[in-house]
């Protein structure tokens, strides 16, 4: 399991897989979000390990 903190603070769980696939599974667009683990960004090709905690940062602003 991978734990994903969403931009609104909620936490989702998903299977281990590549960041690219996690973004798709969450219904997000790779151009609209950054994914971080701790203080490092992860590129879409990275395979996330079991029990990893990652964070989705939305970069799209509305104003």
């Amino acid at each position: 399991m991978v734990f994903v903190t969403m931009p609104d603070g909620s936490i989702k769980e998903c299977q281990q897989k590549r960041i690219k696939e996690i973004i798709l599974e969450l219904g997000l667009n790779e151009n609209a979000v950054l994914v971080a683990k701790g203080d490092e960004l992860l590129t879409p090709d990275i395979y996330v390990a079991n029990r990893d905690e990652i964070r989705i940062i939305s970069v799209v602003s509305g104003g």
Partner: protein
């Protein structure tokens, strides 16, 4: 994925450039894009006094920080809108940010001036965003004019401008399509309005903020719910995923080859007046902002 320059692990993948970068080389790429925009669109040089319009969001803070770092004479201009907690938080961010990085700032506080957006919204029959837009423009123009700034810079990025272009194209607004250039010699009271982040996407600006510890206000203004710009941004991101580079192509080719067709001839331009109340340029004898304020008194 490895950094294109040094082979270290990449922290960001830029599909439209077919490249990945580590922090050091992403920062280098980022600065180069800003330098290119400044040069290509003849935005400004080291002798200019630049006012950067600050909202507290990532784009304006990144622009302010970077132009200062690059050695330009910059001052941040922030309008505190008086929209509840959102405005309080963004004011704190802006103050902390300018202190941390030793940046010059000018702050206009609408609550202290007696007309926060929330009050204006009750008295004026327009949407909050329309009121807010007019009000911010008024103070940006006023402060720029009174303090003799040569340049007014905003943090609009490629996504903002491509989305605006798409919106204006969908509705064929010739008036607005003629004003899509990233460097506009706007009114005579302000020499030039520029968008130095125009070659960078929202994702790239967000990544730069993240990697360089620029903590911006991630909360959206509560009034932005349902903004149509989001629909256009999402549509463009869908296209960009399938065809990397689309946003840049759509916007930059428009500016290069098409925008001039929508620009008005000098003779067609509406005559400008000086508002008889505030002294700022306007198409009207009394500007829209001053007319709104009359309703508050």
């Amino acid at each position: 994925m490895k950094c294109r320059k040094c082979g270290e692990r990449a922290l960001i993948s830029l599909r439209r450039h077919n490249a990945g970068f580590c922090k050091e080389h992403f920062n280098e790429f980022f600065v180069r894009q800003v330098e290119k925009a400044i040069k290509k669109y003849e935005m400004f040089d080291y002798s200019d006094k630049i006012m950067v319009c600050i909202s507290g969001g990532k784009d304006s803070l990144v622009l302010w920080y970077l132009l200062h770092k690059m050695g330009f004479d910059t001052t941040g201009m922030y309008v505190n809108l008086g929209i509840g907690e959102y405005s309080e938080k963004s004011l704190e961010k802006v103050k902390a940010f300018s202190e941390k990085h030793g940046l010059k700032s000018i702050i206009v506080n609408l609550t202290q001036l007696g007309h926060p957006i929330t009050l204006m919204e009750k008295r004026v029959k327009r949407t909050a965003c329309a009121i807010c837009g007019t009000t911010k423009r008024h103070y940006f123009n006023k402060v720029a004019h009174e303090n003799n700034f040569d340049i007014v810079a905003t943090g609009h990025n490629l996504d903002d401008e491509a989305a605006r272009l798409l919106g204006n194209t969908m509705r064929w607004y010739p008036e607005y399509l003629g004003k899509m250039s990233p460097a506009l010699s706007a009114d005579s009271q302000i020499k030039k309005k520029v968008k130095p982040l125009i070659r960078l996407t929202e994702l790239e600006v967000g990544a730069y903020a993240f990697m360089n510890g620029i903590y911006y206000i991630a909360d959206e203004c509560p009034k932005s719910v349902g903004a149509t710009s989001m629909i256009y941004k999402n549509a463009l991101n869908t296209l960009e995923t399938e065809m990397p580079g689309t946003k840049h192509y759509f916007y930059s080719e428009f500016v290069k080859n098409v925008a001039h067709k929508f620009e008005r001839e000098e003779t067609e331009k509406k005559e400008m007046h000086i508002c008889s109340i505030c002294g700022i340029e306007s198409f009207l004898e009394v500007c829209t902002f001053c007319k709104m304020l009359e309703k508050i008194k």
